[in-house]
């Protein structure tokens, strides 16, 4: 039964070795890692009746040597009294251990402490005193064995062990360590040396002994190439991966004073575009990885898969709310293509996140199959690292203001505009058409921008936690509170409590591993029912309060806008509870064969309550209160059994993995509304409503897959990964539920070649890699293949229930397929101090599943079907990390990335006769601007005009539309600089994007001169023939009889004039931190204290004339500009 294994090492021997090695490991239960290099070799010790642990700590600090011992020994230890000055290590240890029931040995700068043989327990489970026994055993064989571990005693699997000849040159004799870190080499000459190398660790050369004991490798440097990357179902060294995985670590996450983890990703990962929907706390973020893949993104989700601690997020990056509020519309189908609503990731505390990985290409995402067709975003929470118990507290407080807004006209400017409009139109002013001029007080001025979105929001947060454990068990628990007010008038607040707990354990025999991660977040927000930014166009002389000091609804009998302050009485409350739990088990059946199981559960419950108070309504009408109560729940569970097998045959390292996924998601939603309330005090009670109605809904999704993965590694130089899978999804009709996909990834680390190492010593790392694969996508709504009728709330007729068709149905749609190709090169220069990574990708989607746009004459306007077109997303991603200065007290690191994407509609059969004939052009991006060419304001007559391409005197869509550009970013990325000097650290992170966006012209509330305030930029208007201006003549008319080349809404709907350059360069994050020196700390009992000042969105350089180039709307709150101060204390 051990046939597969015995080929390498005789298994009888191996098992003995394993047993022995396990015993050795027991010694190394607690570790203090040696501090960097040079420390005095002469020690000065002064202790009286001090615990052995503290004395050894002193020795460790002075000598720089590591010390290993079983924590239990301390119970047996006697107090130490020692007085030594300038003694050697040997002398010191001799003195310390003189009276102890222990002895010690020094090996490789490690002091190992063992009980004296006489005290050793005599039973068979003997934990100690095995060294001689082991040596005897090993001496019986003419073979060298050993084990390689890290400083925590964790085995390093796959480390290279090479035999060097007497001259120190490499010989052909080599092997790799197995799963438990053991190696065996036969026929090793006595005068040889062993070179042990492992990526990410400092290599060691040791003299040959029959038994080498445990060789401990120290982590080499902070080079990101050595970081273990979470690739989903397995981890891989960044250096050895064949796929494309971008990542951001806690170091960069912690610096950012944001509440949503997605906000930390802006500009950080090549290929990833994050767009914030608004500045209201809790609002959602749109995530687009490697270009737009969905033809119809309003209905089909083309966002990546979000996996939190191994559990696919139950609501992915959708929205949680059912009601509209200041957070936005709970739908993806806004015309701005920005999903609104409450972000499900808002209940995850960024401070609990260890890493966020972004899996991009076919190889990296293959293991997630169709769920990962648009990429995968893996969020991993922080784990305990063992060792000393660490208690940490982090407190901060901060202030935010809306970051980029437009100035609106004041009353004088507004009135002048209105009067000019009437004069231009030659229309006489009457109270009915110009009550704002003739009836309302024209001396009144309210700066509505300042009133409605000009406040300062306050944020405060506190987080506390404990982490610790030992080499077998590690834990980390933390809890945090975060509170945030808004810039709106009124007492609005968003509060959040989060807890995160992680525990990991492995059995002494290393066969069983267990990891449990539990994350819980609870949030509660009181927010306005509308985004106040949408009301900044109110005429600046509108009366807010009447003479009696009450809310005003009209002046002189004329009401036009509802009083925005009335909205203060309407409250939208939303609470969420998000529980994410994952249990991972691994059992080593045989050496090299692991069985794994991952079980995850995610549930998100959202409760909403929205009230419309009587006091918020115009008393001119019959008033009644109404209240809305909604709750919904998203559940997701997943079970993923997996088996993997690893075989090392000399230089060949083969890993096999087979597994399955069974996933189920359910959602339930209900909404109850009450109306006819006669008293605002009853609005929280359903019983107080005159009329109550309710609705509910549910849906279920199931997914199942089997997959396999083979990876082959030859001498850490040639890497090959093959993966294949069969996916099943409940979103397809009978017979179409399953499909097969596969991927291949290859890499060649050419700097492993001896010749290159000699010729190009400055090139420390070089890898070319490529991947190709096919993947599917089932990210469409559930049940689309069914022909169904629905019940809809409040649609009874004749007081009886009604049903109606739910949608058009198409039973014939099937899996779409995307082919992904990537080639990339990763280079490291000067001992990896400069790392340059370049990737080129091309993804071609065909048979895309979309909600195919139809004419409204079909009754619905869309149907789910496979799209006949082919769409290619390609792009170049470059990232650079440089350690520019690495000095004892000075450090300067820089990282930068840029992505140049390209989206192209490759083919679309019969496009001109389809419903997309004016939306797309072959050879152009999907987000193309295919409209009339905007010619600005006609100097002759002062109206916007557009180019009549065929000169027939009319604008006709087929003949006169032109391709004017596209809305995809031309390029985007980020630049980070980190400086540190002694205890100070300074970080600047800029993100930038070159793009066209919806411009301010498109957000004019009406034509300039109408009954609405305008941005002051409107004052650059046409006044008389010959004027060359950017804004049309003022007019108060809502329609003007102009046609032909002059269209009413030309600027905002029909021409390219609605778009403008929305490129920006933004100081996304700046942080200054100071770590207090040790002396001061000791007095307060803290191990380290760090004070910091963080800013987010401090400034944005942009020529964009609207409010914010990211949100691109005058009527939504811009992202917050935030300043935070805080302190982190570790005890």
């Amino acid at each position: 039964m051990h046939k597969t294994f015995t080929g390498a090492i005789p298994h009888a021997l191996l098992f003995k070795v394993i047993m022995i090695k396990t015993l050795v490991l027991l010694l190394l239960i607690l570790c203090w890692e040696a501090r960097a290099d040079v420390h005095a070799q002469h020690l000065t010790l002064s202790h009286r009746h001090t615990g052995l642990g503290d004395v050894l700590q002193d020795v460790r600090e002075q000598s720089g040597y590591s010390v290993f011992y079983d924590a239990n020994y301390l119970k047996m230890a006697r107090p130490v009294t020692v007085e030594l000055a300038d003694a050697t290590l040997e002398q010191s240890l001799a003195a310390i251990f003189a009276d102890q029931p222990f002895t010690y040995s020094i090996e490789n700068r490690v002091i190992v402490i063992t009980p004296k043989p006489a005290k050793r327990p005599g039973d068979g489970s003997g934990q100690i005193g095995h060294v001689n026994e082991e040596a005897n055993l090993v001496l019986a064989y003419p073979t060298v064995t050993g084990r390689v571990t890290d400083s925590l005693g964790r085995p390093l699997a796959g480390a290279s062990v090479r035999v060097l000849n007497a001259e120190g040159k490499r010989t052909m004799l080599q092997t790799k360590t197995d799963h438990d870190g053991y190696f065996e080499l036969k026929h090793v000459p006595d005068d040889a040396q062993l070179e042990i190398t492992y990526i990410g660790y400092v290599s060691q050369i040791v003299g040959v002994r029959p038994h080498q004991g445990t060789i401990i490798l120290a982590i080499s440097s902070s080079s990101i190439l050595e970081v273990e990357v979470n690739a989903g179902y397995y981890t891989v060294k960044d250096r050895l991966r064949t796929g494309n995985i971008g990542s951001i670590s806690s170091k960069d996450i912690e610096r950012q004073p944001v509440t949503n983890p997605l906000a930390t990703l802006h500009g950080r990962v090549p290929g990833l575009v994050i767009t914030q929907s608004s500045g209201v706390p809790g609002s959602s973020f749109r995530v687009e990885l490697r270009g737009r893949t969905a033809i119809d993104r309003e209905i089909t989700d083309d966002q990546p898969l979000f996996v939190i601690d191994g559990v696919p997020a139950a609501q992915n990056n959708g929205y949680l709310n059912q009601y509209t509020s200041a957070l936005g519309y709970p739908t993806n189908s806004t015309t701005a293509t920005i999903p609104g609503g409450l972000s499900p990731l808002n209940s995850l505390n960024p401070q609990d996140i260890e890493r966020i990985e972004v899996l991009k290409d076919a190889d990296a995402t293959a293991i997630y199959g169709s769920r990962g067709a648009n990429g995968v975003i893996l969020i991993t929470t922080k784990k305990g690292s063992g060792g000393r118990t660490d208690v940490f507290v982090n407190m901060s407080t901060g202030w935010s203001r809306a970051s980029r807004t437009v100035d609106m006209m004041n009353t004088q400017q507004y009135l002048a505009m209105r009067r000019e409009a009437f004069a231009n139109d030659n229309v006489t002013m009457t109270p009915d058409n110009s009550f704002d001029l003739l009836v309302w007080d024209t001396t009144r001025y309210t700066d509505f921008k300042k009133l409605l979105i000009g406040g300062t929001a306050h944020t405060s947060s506190i987080q506390a936690g404990i982490s610790g454990g030992n080499s077998l068990t590690q834990f980390r628990v933390s809890g945090a509170y975060q509170g945030e007010t808004t810039v709106f008038p009124g007492d609005w607040v968003a509060k959040r409590l989060t807890t995160d707990a992680n525990i990991q354990h492995r059995s002494i025999d290393e066969r069983l591993h267990m990891a449990l991660a539990v994350n819980y977040g609870s949030s509660n927000s009181d927010l306005p029912t509308d985004d106040y930014a949408s009301a900044i166009n109110i005429t600046p002389n509108m009366q807010l309060w009447n003479e009696d000091g009450e809310l005003s609804w009209e002046e002189g009998g004329y009401s036009y806008y509802s009083n925005p302050l009335a909205g203060l009485k309407n409250v939208y409350t939303v609470g969420t509870d998000n529980l994410n739990a994952n249990l991972q088990l691994r059992y080593r059946v045989f050496p090299g064969v692991d069985l794994r199981s991952s079980f995850g559960y995610n549930t998100i419950r959202t409760d909403e309550h929205k009230t419309y108070a009587i006091g918020s309504q115009n008393p001119a009408y019959e008033r009644e209160g109404s209240a809305y109560f909604a709750s919904n729940r998203f559940n997701s569970w997943i079970w993923e059994p997996q088996a993997d097998y690893r075989k090392v045959l000399g230089a060949h390292d083969i890993q096999l993995l087979v597994g399955g996924s069974i996933q189920q998601q359910e959602s339930y939603a209900s909404s109850i509304s009450g109306s006819g309330y006669s008293n605002d005090l009853l609005l929280n009670s359903l019983a107080g409503a005159a009329v109550v109605s309710a609705t509910n809904g549910s849906s279920a999704y199931k997914y199942a897959a089997i997959y396999g993965r083979v990876s082959y590694n030859l001498e850490d130089t040639y890497l090959l990964t093959l993966s294949g899978r069969r996916d099943g999804s409940s979103r397809f009709g009978p017979g179409k539920q399953y499909a097969n996909f596969g991927a291949v990834g290859v890499a060649w680390i050419f700097t492993q070649e001896r010749l290159l190492q000699e010729k190009l010593p400055w090139l420390s790392f070089g890898k070319v890699r490529g991947s190709y694969g096919t993947t599917g996508n089932d990210k469409i709504a559930n049940y689309q293949y069914l022909d169904t009728y629905e019940t809809v709330l409040n649609t009874s007729y004749q007081d009886s229930m009604t049903v109606r068709p739910h949608k058009l149905f198409n039973p014939d749609y099937r899996w779409e397929s995307t082919r992904k190709l990537e080639v990339a090169m990763d280079l490291g220069f000067f001992a990896d101090r400069i790392l340059l990574s370049t990737a080129w990708f091309r993804n071609v989607s065909s048979n895309q599943l979309i909600n195919y746009n139809l004419a409204l004459t079909t009754g619905f306007g869309s149907v789910v079907s496979n799209f006949p077109a082919k769409v290619a997303n390609s792009g170049l991603e470059v990232s650079l990390v440089a350690d520019i200065i690495r000095h004892e007290s000075w450090e300067w690191t820089m990282s930068a990335n840029i992505t140049v994407p390209r989206n192209q509609l490759l083919s679309f059969p019969n496009l001109d006769n389809s419903s997309y004939y004016l939306s797309y052009r072959e050879g152009h991006p999907l987000n193309l601007i295919y409209l009339y060419r905007y010619l600005g304001v006609d100097p002759e007559n002062g109206y916007y005009h557009a180019e009549d391409l065929n000169g027939d005197g009319r604008l006709t869509s087929r003949e006169d539309r032109q391709v004017l550009g596209h809305l995809d970013p031309t390029y985007y990325g980020g630049i980070q600089n980190t400086f540190s000097y002694k205890s100070w650290e300074l970080t600047f992170f800029f993100d930038y994007r070159k793009q066209l966006g919806t411009g301010w012209l498109a957000w004019q509330f009406s034509r300039p001169g109408g009954l609405a305030n305008m941005p002051v930029t409107v004052m650059d208007r046409w006044q008389q023939p010959g004027d060359v201006t950017s804004v049309m003549r003022y007019t108060q008319r809502t329609s003007d009889g102009l046609s032909s080349l002059y269209l009413r809404d030309l600027a905002n709907t029909a021409s390219g004039g609605k778009y403008e350059d929305a490129s920006f360069f933004r100081l996304k994050n700046a942080t200054i931190a100071y770590t207090v020196s040790d002396d001061i700390l000791k007095r307060i009992g803290a191990r380290s204290t760090r004070f910091y000042l963080q800013t987010q969105n401090m400034f944005t350089i942009s020529g964009y004339k609207g409010a914010h180039p990211e949100v691109q709307s005058l009527r939504r709150l811009s992202p917050m500009r935030t300043l935070v101060i805080g302190a982190q204390i570790n005890f």
Binding site: N794, T858, G861, A1054
Partner: protein, 449 residues
Amino acid sequence: MLSFAIGCSQLVEVEMPADQLITSSIYADDVTAIAALRGLYASTMSSTRAISNAGVSLMCGLSAGELKTVRPNADYDPFMENEVLPESYVISTLTWAPAYKTIYQANDLIEKSQQSHSLKPGTVRQITGEALLVRSLNFFYLTNLFGAVPLTLTTDYRTNTALQRSNTQDIYDQIERDLLVAADLLPAEYPSPDRMRANRWAAKSLLARLYLYQGKWQEAIGQASAVIEDGGYKLELTGRTFLSESKETILQFGAVGQYNLSTGAGQTFIPGFDVVPNYQVSSRLLSAYQSTDKRLQDWFLTLSLNGQNYSIPFKYKLNTSSGSRPEANIVFRLAELYLIRAEAYIQQSQIAEAVHDLNQLRGRADISLLDASGLTTEQLLEAVSLERQRELCIEWGHRWFDLKRMGLLDAQMNNIAPETWKPEKALYPIPSAERLSNPFLTQNPGYDD
């Protein structure tokens, strides 16, 4: 592996959502099939200012000069100024889209109920008849508002998304066939006493109007007479005409759900107290009435605010929800049938009969009765036009369609807006968004893309 594959189909089998039902199960049972039929009526009424819920009354009332906006109103000013743009939200979202959705629903009801093996034959007849009537009503309004429009007679989206426009005559022919079938299928009795679902007389009422619009006078007289003589309807006093229990009503659409129990017209035209209304009645319309006309008193309301008077439509008198439903949106009422028959009689030179019918309404309004002697056909046609204007004002677009149908539009508009009026504006533009989705859909003359 094999056993896994066998279990696969179960791994991805899901339960139905709570708020949806498989269509075949809807049509397996008479009760749910009728619920689907009620869903058709609910759809026609589900949004204020959709065609069937005061939308036509408002749009066409503004276009025909019956109504004026009081304050700047970006959505509806273009209708008053006859400058409707193809991008108009009112045209696409409030008018075109709900009409075709209702038509789809009617087609689905017809197809599915006829395919069903378990519905009672009477149920199938009732569903088919009512669905044909609702479909016809929507096509009638679409073609009168837009001219040639796509004639969607199935639920097949492949066909419906790329249809060319059918000319008005073809649409009228289809409506005629459908209504003849519906009148045959539907019983004379109402399925429910509230008159909120169609019976035979509703089908015949629309048939009568259809024949009138086509100049098929004899057929118009035939259908109108059937309703007038056999339907059992009677004219109410003008103060009671628009109450939901009015005996004059042939078909009315009730409010949907528990909210918005008032009619779309009430919600649109009646402002809160002490607030300037959005729309007022034009002096042109008011001046059409004699001062003693009961309709002038009962169907209009004058509001005085800040020294200004605003006259508003007041046929429907409730603007907010309330627990009971004293008003519903009346689709067909007896008065129109008298007017149809009167006009057709004049065209057939049956003057006495025509005058008799006209006097039914004049008598009710308490104005002087007509004397048949000494009136020319032209004068009589003018009288019938005037009576239609007074009786059917701001109701279902009657005036706008009459102006077009009787060839009076250009004369009136050249009088009101001589500089800007163009005869092409008699038809509204095809919604631009719809033309983006259907490359075969042409625009009406006089409108840009």
